[in-house]
Amino acid sequence: MSAMGESNHTTIQASEEVRAIHRQMLRRQRINRGFAYLVAFLIVLWILIPIWFISSMALTTQENVRAYPKGVLPFIEFSFDTMQFFLSSEGIVPGIINSITVAVIALVLSTLIAAPSGYAISRYLFRGRDTYRLAILMVRAFPIVVLAIPLVVVFINFKIFDSVLSLALMHTALTLPTTILIIGSVFASIPYELEEAAMVFGCTPLQAFRRVVFPLVLPGIAAAAIFTFVMSWNEVFAASVLTIQNRTLPAQVFNTLSQSSQAYQFAGAFFMLIPSMVFIFFIRRYLFNMWGQITK
């Protein structure tokens, strides 16, 4: 009886101890979570404050851009004056048109060439598959600088130097590996059984692909295409080296950097940042698709 009472006593004691530990752990977890929120918030500030600054400079009057001390929106006048000044500067509108043309050609070429390859590496186990993937990765890691100078020589020989097409061909070579890997991972995420089921129900392989697989992979391929677009839109080095008359927007801004006013530079930077901010929003789900592939 007494023994039982004693044991009962110890259980109560133990459970109290356990509860204390639990409480402690909960508190620690809560502190940890609070700490995580704090860190997250600080990093968000670190990333957003520079964007806030440049937006303030781009969306105000030119007097405010020249002013010191500098103000930020919404405490300074909001105006499209600076943007208008930038967009009406020489070479900017043609630059934007060139940039979009180059990026669209690169996007189309790159997607058309990459889609079958992506399908092949995700659906077939063939000899040389690993070598192929390694080669693709190596191309991805190659410095742009190293490729741009040689291509100048080739394009001069082909007499397509200083054209939008030559730059688009270069950007395609640059983005192709990434596109192949992304599209590969997108196909890999669609079970082959779906295709098989479609064939069981009487589809030909081509029909199975078109009716079942294609609609499922379309968003992923669109994400890859958007990524190609952004990479091409941002690229400065090759664009400056390969074009003289037909400059793209970054090349135009880059080459007039030393002679241009701050209003022009800031508005240019803001304008170039817009696509990245918008597009990342649409493809954020696929970011890990893109890079998860590489580590596997």
Binding site: R33, I43, W46, L112, V145, V146, L176, V253, M272
Partner: protein, 464 residues
């Protein structure tokens, strides 16, 4: 029968992936591998290194010897020679024009033959500007033969068929453009003298008309000339130093920050989707734009000075980005690069973290491992493959920092290898030296990638 069909089908299935990857292989071979090989050859191959001299003034004649580019030579003779029309716009080409003329000599005989354009003043032309008639020019200088020689062929080494008096009228029947050939001799460092004919496009003749130098050759040769030029360039060492310094500073900061960001994303916070979006924004930001963004902060009338003065830390705006304050430029570049390129490391690390099973992490937590212990003994070791990939990628990309540096330093005060490549190509028009720089960057990239792979493997071996 069925077995045959099966092997047939298997064979068919085996070929499909190769057909599917073929376009990408062709494309990469065409626009990646081939230009790469050709371009890197530029760094070590001078395709104008040697000039072949001919025994006679003709491309078909035998080679009498070769002289290297830059040799000083004696010019012994010159002669015009036929040139194809499409070669007329070749650089540095020297041409002379000869007329086939008909005139009457002092004895009253009709003379037909060739004479250099310089001896005839053109008086009549067709509408298209083709000369049809003119007069013989007066010869200047004392003791010169007052008569002008007319030659059988279109060069003055050929037979003289007659002589015409000054100011006598001639009809021009044909016009021919010739490239000048020189008979030159000279010797490459301490070797025997070589003599032969060479085309004007290769030889630069000095004002005295008797000496000249070989401007460029027609035969290629392996050379270290461009590599030497690169290494001796006064911007080479600063560029290499800065590139490596930035790499050493930036990469550790980036990896620390990226791991923190990834842990935050993995902590399942309330707005983790939003956090992920914001953290990923710089991923797609243009490097030029980011350079300018940080320029707006660090420039003298920029935001940093506004904040510092607002807080009363400084009394007057400080000039951060100038020659005297190079370290501030380096700090600005570091911040800009950390801001821009940490996201990509974060994404790779998050993908790696997602592959680690939550049970392992929960188990570690249950056994009372603190955050630091979990990180040190569980997470980081499991993340090694991802970190390795990220490290290789970041190092290679760090060797290419370009627009950020130019935006913040003007490209002069602080320079990096990629910027020197650009300048050699764009400002100095020196394709070969630019190719040397490109090759150099490639070699460092490859060596560092191999180094990481090796270092991590030996670590694993030591552990096993």
């Amino acid at each position: 029968m069925s077995a045959v069909q099966q092997t047939k089908r298997r064979k068919k299935r085996n070929w499909a992936p190769y057909w599917l990857i073929l376009p990408s292989l062709i494309y990469l071979a065409l626009f990646f591998a081939w230009p790469m090989v050709r371009g890197l050859a530029l760094a070590v191959w001078n395709d104008e290194a040697l000039l072949s001299l001919r025994e006679e003034a003709s491309q078909e004649s035998d080679v009498s010897g070769t002289l290297p580019q830059g040799t000083t030579v004696n010019v012994l003779d010159r002669q015009g020679n036929f040139i194809a029309a499409d070669e007329l716009d070749t650089g540095n080409i020297l041409t002379e024009v000869w007329f086939q003329v008909q005139g009457t000599d002092p004895d009253g005989q009709t003379v037909t033959g060739w004479v250099s354009e310089s001896r005839i003043r053109v008086r009549e032309e067709t509408e298209e500007g083709i000369p049809t008639g003119g007069t013989v020019r007066t010869k200047l200088g004392a003791g010169a033969d007052p008569l002008t020689s007319i030659y059988a062929e279109e060069n003055d080494n050929s037979e003289i068929v007659g002589k015409l008096e000054a100011r006598s009228a001639v009809t021009i029947e044909d016009v021919i453009v010739l490239e000048v050939w020189y008979l030159i001799n000279g010797s490459a460092a301490d070797e025997e003298i070589v003599e032969g004919w060479a085309r004007s496009r290769y030889v630069q003749v000095f004002e005295d008309e008797n000496t000249g130098r070989i401007d460029r050759g027609d035969t290629g040769k392996l050379t270290t000339e461009y590599l030497q030029k690169m290494v001796n360039d006064r911007f080479f060492m600063p560029a290499l130093g800065t590139t490596l310094l930035l790499m050493v500073i930036i990469i550790p900061i980036q990896f620390t920050l990226a791991i923190i960001m990834a842990l935050v994303i993995q902590a399942n916070l309330k707005w983790s989707g939003l956090f992920l979006y914001v953290f990923a924004i710089p991923l797609a930001a243009s490097d030029l734009a980011v350079g300018i963004v940080w320029f707006s902060i660090f420039t003298t009338n920029g935001y940093l000075n506004t904040i510092l003065q607002g807080l009363g830390i400084v009394d007057a705006p400080v000039t951060f980005l100038s020659v005297e304050t190079r370290y501030w430029i380096l700090i600005a570049i570091t911040l800009a690069e950390v801001w821009r390129a940490t996201s990509i490391v974060m994404v790779i690390v998050v993908s790696g973290l997602q592959a680690i099973s939550t049970e392992i992490l929960e188990a570690a937590e249950l056994f009372g491992a603190g955050l630091w212990q979990r990180l040190r003994y569980v997470i980081l070791p499991l993340l090694r493959p991802s970190l390795q990939v990220a490290l290789i990628l970041r190092t290679i990309l760090a060797l290419q920092v370009f627009a950020v540096v130019v935006a913040l330093s003007g490209g002069d005060v602080v320079t990096v290898l990629a910027n020197e490549t650009y300048r050699q190509y764009y400002d100095f028009r020196n394709l070969n030296v630019a190719a040397s720089y490109a090759g150099f960057i490639l070699i460092i990239s490859m060596v560092s990638a191999l180094f990481y792979l090796r270092a991590i493997r030996t670590q694993e071996e030591a552990r096993a």
